[in-house]
Symmetry: C2
Subunit: 232 residues, 2 copies
DNA sequence: CGTGCGATTGACTGTCCTCAACATGGGTGG
DNA sequence: CCACCCATGTTGAGGACAGTCAATCGCACG
């Protein structure tokens, strides 16, 4: 019986609003689940019977059109909440893009617990508001930025979001990191094709603004010039 | 001293979570404000000192790039909440697109009241989650739909959203309505230019799927065929 | 009857997509 | 240990869709 004290996201996730005694109850109604990379946890349109918290790894939230065109509408890092509380259906597909560990709850039980613990609902409200801000910022990118601006924005935002939830130093943005995404996922995130993503990364490399290694490891070489290219 | 009983959104806005006695307190800390079409209530990046509820009219939430490119990231109808509670700065500009009446609150006072009334925070959480769903659905449109699909989606969604908050029958989607947007606003909503919006509306009219009057009044002539063109 | 804003229409351009061939590299089995 | 294979990524040529620039229209207003 490992306590939540072990949990790597204990102090970041919504649980941070709870006392140890309350946490014990919450822990009893949830269960840990390991999901291998590539596997889908819930499907768009499914009944929303489960909600969960990411403990380790990265997941994508995506929706798609009838003919298969796909758009990633959110990315869940450790401590992020997934699923659709207080709703009938999940409005997007949730898929692991690395190996993932989550703590999942029956939605009904979780909602009951939440309504009895206003501090937890408050934390959820704050998180949801922040997520909404992020979604809207991304709408600007999708609707108005050029391919180059899109990629630069992604590269500059990446380290923030990665380090924010990860343990360690959240101050200085890292200039060397590993993307959790492949080319197709970057394309689905930015509303582009893989070819365009590949070409733009090539351009940025040729101009010496970034360097690549292993296709996933990126080093920011000139943060200032990149910031100029991001559109704002 | 008009009671909230008069208020057209009394039963739809977050206030619907409150008893009359609680409502009286909330009413005391808020004030009614009338805003003419075109006027901006808060600017992107401003200190978030005020939050508000739309009582009448329609407002747009928008962000923009350094060079003026703009994206509308949300539309607030009667009963919708605007501003950024629990945040330092407003992440988007809020502007009236029709004459508008709002009830506004000092953020600090409102937050204090909210934290003392969990049912209100719960209502806000539900609304924010719904808004997040809408934002994400729009991300799919911005990232992956063609110009035609974008316009068709807008036209088909419009009546839902309009009637939802308005009094009256929320069942059958209307096939005749007046857009609250001009061409530029449609363009900023869809991530297009006014010329493309104009041309696509022309196409849809020529194919007999819709008819226009006054540039703002739209009649849906063939909802089925339009639904096919929306991509899904 | 002019003025001015918003919308429409046209001609042309450019960015990004499509389709296709080719490269790379990590993993498996012989 | 090497050869092979498949998934993933890169590169190239050509085309389409939406953007740009500019002229014109239509209507509401003074």
């Amino acid at each position: 019986m490992s306590a939540c004290g072990d949990c790597p996201v204990r102090n970041h996730a919504i649980c941070s609003a709870l006392e140890d005694s309350e946490l014990a109850i919450l822990r009893r109604i949830g269960r840990v689940q390991d999901i291998p990379a590539g596997q889908t946890l819930m499907w768009e349109g499914d009944e929303a019977s489960v909600v969960a918290n990411v403990v380790e790894g990265v997941m994508k939230l995506s929706t798609s059109l009838g003919d298969g065109r796909e758009q990633i509408v959110g990315v869940a890092y450790p401590a992020d909440f997934i699923g659709r509380p207080f709703g009938e259906r999940v409005p997007y597909t949730v898929t692991a893009i690395t190996d993932v560990r989550v703590r999942s709850f029956q939605r009904a039980g979780f909602e009951k617990f939440a309504q009895e613990h206003p501090k937890l609902e408050h934390k959820m409200l704050e998180r949801t508001l922040a997520e909404l801000d992020r979604a809207r910022e991304w709408m600007l990118l999708l609707g108005r930025k050029t391919a180059q601006e899109k990629l630069v924005t992604l590269l500059l935002n990446m380290p923030n979001r990665l380090s924010e939830t990860q343990c360690g130093t959240p101050e200085a943005p890292l200039d060397h990191f590993e993307l959790p995404f492949g080319r197709q996922q970057m394309a689905d995130l930015l509303g582009l094709t893989i070819e365009t993503v590949s070409r733009q990364l090539g351009e940025l490399t040729k101009s010496g603004l970034i360097t690549l290694k292993n296709q996933r490891e990126v080093t920011i070489q000139d943060r200032e010039k990149l910031a100029d290219l991001a559109g704002q």
